[in-house]
């Protein structure tokens, strides 16, 4: 976080950063409350709601029945009445049951009533399960599904700093927000400012500068891209990695400026290619800087099938650094020596969860 004085920053894990943002926002604003199934339990949503419950108790960290649709609508009603609920889902897949309330109520509230009656600033956190045989219905990343709908902000924090900053922005802003967090990032460490500093929606960051090819990535794939870049550097390919941070609004400028410089684009996402994040990024480039493209765009995403459980299949399903390396070499037309497959960021993670 450039601009922060050193002593303001320390290393936290991704889950600690989310917990800190939650606690700081609750301390700063008594309207904030955490709502979700089991948010009050001993695990505290993988640690992210545990300290909040210890500090603020069951009136502000509220365990709710297994009713995702009503819970989302209730959060809308509470937000309209002046509270700032954060609704937490241990799997983003459960958001399909809350989709009507998020898309038909939260996203449209402000506009439908004329724009000057206030909105429904509910914050929804969905955790993406990945690895350890999560299976077809416990491992999806529906960020693009929500990103299609006007009225929402949708973010996919890749670092502990952004996990904190984007949650702070969500809880201090006036727009309904969907935050898609990847469970595999929870134990990653990174520098996080102590201050309750928001990270604005719609502002991406260059995670690594480069000159030959741009890899635009979201969430976990930012790290896969960085590791791919390391390896490619050893083979003379300079990769620029763009972390979009939020997919709605999307920072078109940072994407286009990078591709204008590198002339090559690879998009990496944890969700499917069709009508997904990778499609939108390619479209933004095709709309704005098509002439800059010196090679076809490549998308690194899961293949077009549901997620399997059996680990060899699951490993193959979850595209990562190895596939990004291959795509970059292809668009750079470097037929580099067969490179050793890279171990996934998530390797060593001990299931089950």
């Amino acid at each position: 976080m450039t601009g922060e004085r050193e002593q303001d920053v320390r290393a936290l894990t991704y889950w600690q950063a989310i917990s800190e943002a939650t606690v700081q926002c609750m301390a700063a604003d008594e309207r904030v409350l955490v709502v979700g199934e089991g948010v009050d339990d001993f695990r505290g949503t993988y640690g992210t709601t545990k300290e909040a419950f210890q500090r603020f108790g069951p009136r502000r960290v509220v365990d709710v029945p297994n009713s995702e649709n009503a819970t989302a609508g209730i959060a809308v009603g509470a937000a309209v009445a002046g509270l700032r609920p954060v609704v937490v889902h241990t799997r983003a897949d459960f958001l399909f049951l809350a989709m009507d309330a998020l898309v038909n109520l939260a996203a449209k509230w402000r506009y439908m009533y004329g724009g000057d009656k206030g909105g429904a600033p509910v914050v929804t956190r969905g955790v993406v399960g990945r690895g350890w045989g999560q299976g077809a219905t416990h491992s999806q990343s529906p960020h693009a599904t929500f990103g299609h709908y006007a009225g929402l902000h949708v973010a996919t924090p890749a670092t502990p700093a952004d996990a904190k900053g984007l949650l702070v922005a969500a809880l201090t802003g006036d727009t309904p927000v969907v935050l898609i967090e990847n469970r595999s990032l929870y134990s990653l460490e990174g520098e996080v400012p102590e201050a309750m500093t928001p990270v604005p929606f719609g502002v991406g960051r260059v995670a690594r500068p480069g000159t030959d090819v741009t890899v635009v990535a979201a969430s976990l794939m930012v790290h896969e891209a960085l590791r791919a870049a390391d390896q490619l550097a050893t083979h003379g390919v300079s990769v620029e990695v763009v972390d979009v941070r939020s997919i709605r609004p999307l920072d078109d400028a940072i994407i286009c400026e990078s591709v204008a410089r590198t002339g090559r684009l690879v998009v990496a996402d944890t969700s499917w290619a069709r009508y997904g994040f990778s499609a939108e990024v390619a479209a933004v480039v095709a709309e704005n800087v098509p002439q800059a493209l010196r090679a076809p765009v490549r998308r690194v995403t899961p293949p077009d099938c549901p997620s399997p459980v059996s680990w060899p299949l699951e490993e193959a399903f979850n595209a990562g650094a190895t596939q990004i390396v291959r795509a970059c070499l292809e668009v750079c037309e470097v037929s580099g020596p067969a490179l050793p497959a890279l171990e996934a960021v998530t390797a060593g993670f001990q299931g089950p969860y």
Binding site: L33, R59, V64, P65, S67, N69, A70, T71, A72, G73, I74, A75, V76, G77, A78, A79, V80, A81, G82, L83, D100, A101, N104, L105, W109, R110, Y111, M112, Y113, G114, G115, D116, K117, G119, P121, A150, G151, G173, D174, T175
Partner: protein
């Protein structure tokens, strides 16, 4: 007391006249480009219930919005301007008949997706309770909306958290053209489902405005005193077609005789009859109120039609808080 009762009648008369006049304009002009679900014949539910509330209490409606909006005290000219899609409408023409709002009187909103507003009302009532405010949230919905899972989920949450919310079911026997019997099992009732979910419920003749009002007063008082949620199942009947201004005797999904029987049970006529003894001048008063309401709505229509439409340059305004209006 008398004045209370006549006030309820007057309110019903006003809503009836307003909707009948609007229906004629709607049919004849084809200028209100918004789907309208009239409450003609169902006035006692909104009037009886909402007379038991204060402006601090919030009500959410579903798609049959005009009666609850007006009964809560919603601004008539802003309603009519909304129906004509004008910038001066209560939702600046963005919402239409189904998305009404008047925060100054506690009409918190209405929506087109069956059942969803029930959960929203629970959320607002929950917020009131969490802040320790003695305010009540209410939600109007039909018999058909009770088939949506969100209704059961909302009842359960409200009961567990003792939310000050009054669930108001206007049971008019139909969901569009589907009769209750094809949608809900014989021998069950909305009231029974609410009670099984832990929400105290009463079934009331929804065309008896005084009975409705008394039941609503009890429910609202209990909520205000922290007694938790309540449900009112109010049996009533829609006279006109599901959506739009016409009658639908000829469509065959319900008999002309059934409609006529319910018209016989007109909530206004019944209320008038029941106060006539104590209020001999009531018929004269009703004629007078009808005239006043006719003038009021006619003026509102004329006024609205002269108002400007929204400016296309403002199309995006309000989609996000950042895009101010």
């Amino acid at each position: 007391m008398t004045s209370d009762r006549t006030r309820l009648i007057r309110e019903m008369v006003r809503i009836r006249v307003v909707e009948e006049v609007l229906a004629d304009h709607y049919r004849d002009e084809q200028e209100m480009r918004t789907a309208i679900h009239f409450s003609i014949g169902q006035e006692a539910t909104a009037v009886g219930v909402l007379a038991a509330t204060s402006a601090q209490d919030w009500v959410y409606a579903a798609h049959r919005t005009h009666a609850p909006y007006l009964a809560k005290g919603g601004d008539l000219t802003a309603l009519v301007a909304e129906l004509y899609g004008r910038e001066a409408g209560c939702s600046h023409g963005r919402g239409g008949s189904i998305h009404l709002i008047d925060q100054s009187v506690g009409f918190a909103g209405s929506g087109a997706i069956l059942g969803e507003m029930i959960s929203v009302a629970v959320g607002s009532g929950w917020a009131f309770a969490l802040r320790g405010e003695a305010r009540v949230a209410l939600t109007f919905f039909g018999d058909g909306a009770t088939e949506e899972g969100v209704f059961a989920e909302s009842l359960n949450f409200a009961a567990v958290h003792r939310v000050p919310v009054v669930f108001v079911c206007e049971n008019n026997l139909y969901s569009i053209s589907s009769p209750l019997a094809t949608r809900q099992p014989a021998g069950t009732s909305v009231r029974g489902r609410a009670e099984a979910a832990g929400v105290p419920a009463v079934a009331v003749d929804g065309n008896d405005v005084f009975a409705v009002h008394a039941a609503a007063q009890d429910a609202v008082r209990r909520c205000r005193e922290g007694g938790g949620p309540a449900l009112l199942e109010l049996s009533t009947y829609r006279w006109r077609e599901h959506v739009g201004p016409g009658w639908d005797h000829h469509h065959g999904y319900r008999s002309a005789q059934e409609i006529d029987e319910w018209v016989e049970r007109c909530p206004i006529r019944r209320a008038v009859a029941s106060v006539r003894a104590e209020e001999p001048g009531i018929d004269e008063l009703v004629r007078q109120w009808e005239g006043e309401s006719r003038d009021e709505i006619s003026a509102a229509v004329a006024h609205a039609r002269a108002l400007p439409f929204p400016v296309v340059a403002d199309l995006l305004d309000g989609a996000y808080a950042e895009v101010a209006r």
